[in-house]
């Protein structure tokens, strides 16, 4: 990524991504989360390493350290802190992380035809919606059925998450761009399916909790 720039302070070429390696002044932060955090572009991210890096960089970028620095550096430290927070929030969550990598690779998320929903799932989804309808109409006899569907969909999500985990490893193991893209494409499809199911679960949760309220 474009971390090759001249230092705004001393003019040294190829100054480095966060601090100039010569005059040590804070540079304009890169918006790329991986480059910013100095992490390899992998989908499988070790949460411990990520967290350690986040804390270390939070300390380096803390506004207190810039009170007596130039306006330029104050501004950069604010920008960098906000990128750091976004980067951490996105990369620590496997789903958000995968969506980020997909979007950066130019994939559109959310464009899909109805055929892509597996038929065996549709049946269950339809039954679930029927039950939700009856619940809204005041029929509480469907409650056990809803709880059970909720449970089933939760299990499906867990299974999907472990499939994703495998895809991540496979993606990271690919050497060339084309094979990486092929895996990313599969990941995108899994994510669509996952979103579909998790929307359902939250719909059930919403209905169940509005009853208890």
């Amino acid at each position: 990524m474009a971390s090759h720039h001249d230092c705004w302070q001393c003019g040294t070429p190829d100054a480095g991504s966060l601090f100039c390696r010569y005059c040590n002044s804070l540079q304009a932060p890169t918006p790329d989360y991986y480059v910013f955090l100095g992490l390899p572009r992998r989908l499988a991210v070790d949460p411990a390493i990520l967290q350690k890096q986040f804390y270390a960089m939070s300390r380096m970028l803390h506004p207190d350290r810039y009170t007596r620095r130039s306006e330029q550096e104050k501004r950069y430290s604010l920008e960098a802190s906000s990128i750091l927070n976004d980067a951490y929030r996105v990369l620590r969550d496997p789903i958000a992380r995968a969506e980020y990598v997909l979007r950066e690779a130019g994939f559109e998320i959310g464009e899909q035809r109805s055929k892509d929903v597996p038929p065996e799932l549709l049946e269950e989804v339809f039954e679930l919606n029927m039950a939700l309808d009856e619940l809204r109409a005041g029929d509480s006899e469907v409650l056990p059925q809803l709880q059970e569907s909720r449970h089933n969909f939760k299990l499906m999500l867990a299974r999907i998450d472990s499939v994703l985990e495998e895809h991540f490893q496979r993606h990271d193991g690919q050497q060339d761009v084309a094979s990486r893209r092929a895996v990313l494409e599969q990941i995108r499809n899994v994510l669509h399916r996952r979103r579909y199911i998790s929307n359902l679960v939250s719909e059930v949760d919403k209905q169940l909790s509005s009853r208890n309220a």
Binding site: G110, E111, Q112, R113, S114, K115, D116, V117, P119, L121, L122, E123, V125, F126, N129, M130, D133, H192, R193, R195, Y196, N199, L200, E203
Partner: protein, 137 residues
Amino acid sequence: MAYSDKVLDHYNHPRNVGSLDKKDPSVGTGLVGAPECGDVMKLQIKVNPETGVIEDARFKTFGCGSAIASSSLATEMLKGRTVDEALQIKNTEIVNELSLPPVKIHCSVLAEDAIKAAITDYKAKTLDAAPASAQSA
């Protein structure tokens, strides 16, 4: 909400809501879903096996107003057509009839997919039924 009058009419007075007996060999069931929005649509047709004419059609849609209107309209369009005529129905006809805006086109696509799925199911059943009934006879 920028729903057209026709959408509102179908939405407020949906035609042919309900279900037909899934196990009936003359009934085809299409169940489709749109992952973008989580909407699901079930559309069923009852075919006269002699003439191939669709005599009844029912739907149940969990989704937006446009999806409900699209499937309601679809059941009206289906009745009286032969299965092969029904296969020609395009989502653009639904879009025009209901004046759907571009963002709601996928709702009409869902209805077209549901029609196709119902017909596919019906055809598969008649194919299956032929040798089976010959055997049991």
